[in-house]
Symmetry: C2
Subunit: 216 residues, 2 copies
Amino acid sequence: MNPITTEALLEALRWRYATKMFDPSRRIPEPVWTALEQSLVLTPSSYGLQPWRFMVVTDPGVKRALVPHSWNQSQPADCSHHVVFAAREHMDEAYVDRFVAQACVQRGLAPGALAGYRNMMVSDVVTGPRSAQAFEWAVRQTYIALGQFMTSAALLGVDACPMEGIQPSGYDEVLGLKGTGYATVVACAAGYRAVADRNASVKKVRFETGEVVQNV
Amino acid sequence: MNPITTEALLEALRWRYATKMFDPSRRIPEPVWTALEQSLVLTPSSYGLQPWRFMVVTDPGVKRALVPHSWNQSQPADCSHHVVFAAREHMDEAYVDRFVAQACVQRGLAPGALAGYRNMMVSDVVTGPRSAQAFEWAVRQTYIALGQFMTSAALLGVDACPMEGIQPSGYDEVLGLKGTGYATVVACAAGYRAVADRNASVKKVRFETGEVVQNV
């Protein structure tokens, strides 16, 4: 493992901003997108359960159709890849079993080898304390993915705009998510800033480090 | 802005894992920690409102005191820096005004220059649609910080273990958060893996890309 420098990290985090105007003529090159797609897939989640689905919208018609459900902001239409983060609405045993089966295959274990782990997860997110808030629990996990995605994009020199100001049910309809067990939570447009986007040069506003970080 | 390579990104994301055993003798060097601290401070949030507080615990006694509130897992005690993510419980006009004042100072604007922006935020998170769920809205933002932090740590070669399995009220008590308007949400231990941690070599389990990513 070869770490990057602290300077490379901070340069990227300071360079990024919530891009208001994308250059509609620029597309994220395939190898860069493939890495960003993997940053989504590799996101850590509670128990490793990955209670999410990522809809990556590049079709021009669908992108335009999402604009009215995005407070008429133009980012979904003008960006290169519009990523919609959907969270699983309920947790059931079948889902946990599918994950455990995948784990056994990928780790070369006999079926049943992870029964204890499986039962622990079921007794929490399916029948236990987290089951009543399974959707919000899943939503929180998708926000980890949003964080990992934005950080990764910045490091690869890709601009992004996180968008909470969307109508999830409108997104669900356009993307055919209704009835799938997944619901739109948040979106993030990715691509390249337009030269005309004056927001790129506006100073980032943050509370002082001493106000938000407390050392104990 | 000099992007890192896609290989550097993916190497780090594949290298990381939820570290179960930290080497208690290793401490994150000051310059590396300073960068990770800034990855927290620079995290994007809804409207830029940063409704969070990060408690960074390095005091050995406090770290040990958090173990019983962490299902007796040893990571809080053995890691180098134990980061506790706390979210703001309520949103009020005073908070929004403090943020707007900070924005005016940092951007060199006259007081009042951002009145429209200020009122838009108040009419959403203080008196409008998001006010009823202000805490959960804040929690979601802290999960962006968790994602950015874990990605940043991996890229700098620092191990981490996200911990949802904690008792927030116990954490609040130990850390003196009660009555501050902030409440513990999740934690993340950071430091260096112990040589003996066999989890480091266990294969990462993820659903197939085609199962979680849908191209539209």
